[in-house]
């Protein structure tokens, strides 16, 4: 193991620990007058499981960021496809090698980078589009709302994976950037429903009525008075949404229409092992475990945030 790689692992560990400790302390210090985010952290602080999930997500993000310095081998190099292919896990290759003699562990680290960044960017897009659409529907109400929501009903009646398969087959091989856009634009229906419901309740509140009485324009009312109040449900939905996008992207890459080889994503790595799953099981096992761990962590954090940010639970 080269010294620079040892240094990178140490740095990764130190950064992870430092960031998590900092978040924990911020939660521990939160008083009664703390804002919602602090208070959410404080709740996390008492919840052992949520804290473990937070550590896991921070660690995964660090690994993704530092992948090139952490990985022992190149993720795409095929050193010897006769002698070094399909090696079982060993000291030299923690997670074995695949059919092309590539190191599964190195690909897993790079895969974290690909899968997590795709999920993050796609969910940012989904959350933005969903929030704007839902806010518009809820704010204008009436017939506009009815039409906009019927479209959402229709979109939600088709399984997202089926919609994505059809789109990606129609459009052929798409680059990663286009994949992110497609994932983002098929993931906002749920968010928009949520935001609409919030906005419907918010727009009857005194602050909005007052702003309207003072002659504020629709755009300003939506941007200044309504949207800030829907941030926390959207954040909860986005956190749970990241978990969902990771699974969906993995599924598409597994089918060969998402992230294309040789670029590793956790999904297409699983596909690499499918044809010989009975004998070379490690190629499919480890990326799957990485997905389960990460997705579970995001789900736990999302659930925790929902409990923590719901103001109705404050008196409880």
């Amino acid at each position: 193991m080269s010294s620079s790689r040892v240094a990178a692992w140490v740095l990764c560990t130190v950064l992870t620990v430092a960031l998590c400790r900092w978040l924990e302390r911020a939660g521990a210090r939160a008083g009664d007058d703390a804002g919602p985010w602090r208070r959410a952290l404080a709740r996390f602080h008492h919840d052992r499981v949520a804290m473990v999930a937070l550590w896991l997500v921070v660690a995964a993000s660090m690994v993704a960021a530092l992948a090139p310095w952490l990985a022992p081998y190149s993720p795409t190099a095929t050193p010897d496809i006769v002698e070094l292919k399909n090696l079982p896990p060993s000291f030299a290759h923690f997670m074995g090698t695949d059919f092309a003699s590539r190191d599964v562990f190195s690909r897993l680290l790079y895969g974290a980078r690909v899968s997590l960044s795709i999920a993050l960017l796609a969910i940012l897009l989904s959350a933005t589009v969903g929030t704007l659409y839902g806010a518009a529907a809820g704010y204008y109400g009436g017939r506009v709302d009815a039409v906009m929501m019927r479209i959402i009903d229709a979109a939600l009646s088709v399984p997202r994976i089926l919609l994505l398969i059809t789109l990606l087959v129609l459009w052929g091989a798409v680059p990663v950037a286009a994949l992110i856009v497609v994932l983002g634009f098929t993931g906002w229906f749920g968010v928009s429903r949520l935001v609409r419901a919030e906005v419907l309740a918010l727009k009857e509140r005194d602050m909005v009525v007052a702003a309207r009485a003072l002659g504020a324009r629709d755009r300003d009312i939506i941007l200044r008075h309504i949207l800030p109040n829907v941030v926390s449900p959207v954040v909860v939905a986005a956190t749970l949404g990241i978990a969902n996008v990771i699974v969906i992207e993995a599924g598409l890459s597994y089918l060969g229409i998402g992230v294309r080889p040789p670029l590793p994503s956790w999904g297409n790595m699983i596909q690499d092992g499918v044809s010989q799953i009975a004998t070379v099981w490690w190629v499919s096992l480890f990326p799957g475990l990485a997905i389960v761990a990460t997705v579970m962590a995001f789900n736990i954090i999302g659930d925790g945030l929902r409990d923590a940010l719901d103001p109705r639970q404050l008196d409880g």
């Binding site: 019927r150 009646s157 994976i161 398969i165 789109l167 599924g251 089918l255 099981w281 499919s284």
Partner: protein
């Protein structure tokens, strides 16, 4: 009740129409067309291309194409599948019963086990068993469907050799079997795919049922039941569960898209000859016609499922019925 049914039915028709319109738009926004995607040989004579373009109506103005498209869908026709050399409706008619069988078994299993697990958890809230089951159901809830299917295949079909790895029946012996042996053989092939699909949904049902019960347990009638000296078992099973089952009916409608999406992967891993396997095979053959048909048929199934859920809800909850 009838009014409710009719209104829901009308909404369902609108939803399917919207889905059909969206897929039509997608088809025409996409680069290329079915003819050039199928006749990939550059030496194909132009006359052949023109023949197919004309036969498929691709030379008509867009609004006429749209109209023909809607008419054919309303009549249950979805065009012609080139890779299968058959009308799409014939291909789907063979696959749909297999998918429905798999989903039906998975739904029954998942909802029975999930509801029981949810009740167990809610009764022992905060105890180790609740904690363990919560983590367990989150574990399966977070799992990619195709990976779970692969692992089930690896463990139960290849390592333990308990169940067959693929198909609906034994390709060699089936023809020689008597009726009973055939039934057992089919059941044996159903176990792994149905269990995989059921595991994924059970996790969601258990999570949902647990929180629904805990919600109900706080309400006045539960307190009254406890106050009059009923033991906890009776309070939960006889009084709370009835009310906590209502949201689970909603979940039935909500779970359908996820279940149909999941069956795409589960079917293809276990080579179950249903719509999911068709979908995955249609990817490599670029079978547009089949894919759009699957999208529309799926939305019809989801709409019907939600209709059933609504009716069940109205049947179970007098408040909904009386509101009409």
């Amino acid at each position: 009740m009838i009014a409710l049914l009719l209104r829901r039915l009308a909404q369902g028709v609108v939803i399917v129409w919207l889905v059909a319109t969206l897929t039509f738009l997608l088809l025409h926004l996409a680069p290329g067309d079915p003819v050039s995607a199928t006749l990939t040989d550059p030496l194909t004579p132009p006359a052949v291309r023109e023949y197919w373009i004309h036969r498929l109506g691709l030379d008509l103005p867009l609004h006429q194409q749209y109209w023909h498209y809607l008419l054919s869908i309303a009549g249950g026709g979805f065009g012609f599948s080139f890779p299968h050399h058959r009308p799409v409706s014939a291909v789907l008619a063979e696959a749909l019963p297999n998918t429905l069988l798999l989903m039906g078994v998975a739904i029954v299993l998942a909802f029975t086990i999930g509801i029981v697990l949810g009740v167990v958890q809610a009764r022992r809230k905060g105890k180790p068993i609740d904690w363990g089951l919560s983590i367990g159901s989150l574990f399966f809830y977070s799992m990619p469907d195709f990976w779970l299917a692969l692992m089930m295949l690896l463990v139960f079909a290849y390592w333990l050799r308990l169940f067959p790895a693929s198909g609906m029946f034994d390709p060699v012996m089936y023809g020689l079997m008597g009726p009973w042996a055939r039934a057992v053989d089919r059941l044996w092939h159903l176990v792994l795919p149905a269990a995989t699909l059921a595991l994924l949904v059970t996790a969601a049902v258990a999570r949902f049922q647990r929180s629904a019960l805990l919600e109900v347990a706080r309400q006045d009638f539960a307190r009254t039941a406890r106050a009059k000296g009923l033991d906890e078992r009776a309070v939960v099973w006889r009084h709370s569960l009835r009310n906590a089952l209502l949201p689970v009916i909603t979940l039935f409608g909500l779970a359908l898209p996820a279940l149909l999406g999941g069956s795409v992967f589960v079917e293809s891993v276990f080579s179950w000859p249903g719509m999911g396997t068709l979908t995955v095979n249609a990817i490599s053959t670029r079978d547009y016609q089949l894919l759009t048909a699957v999208v529309i048929v799926t939305s019809v199934l989801v709409v019907l499922g939600n209709l059933i859920a609504d009716l069940l809800y109205a049947w179970a909850d007098p408040r909904v019925r009386l509101e009409e």
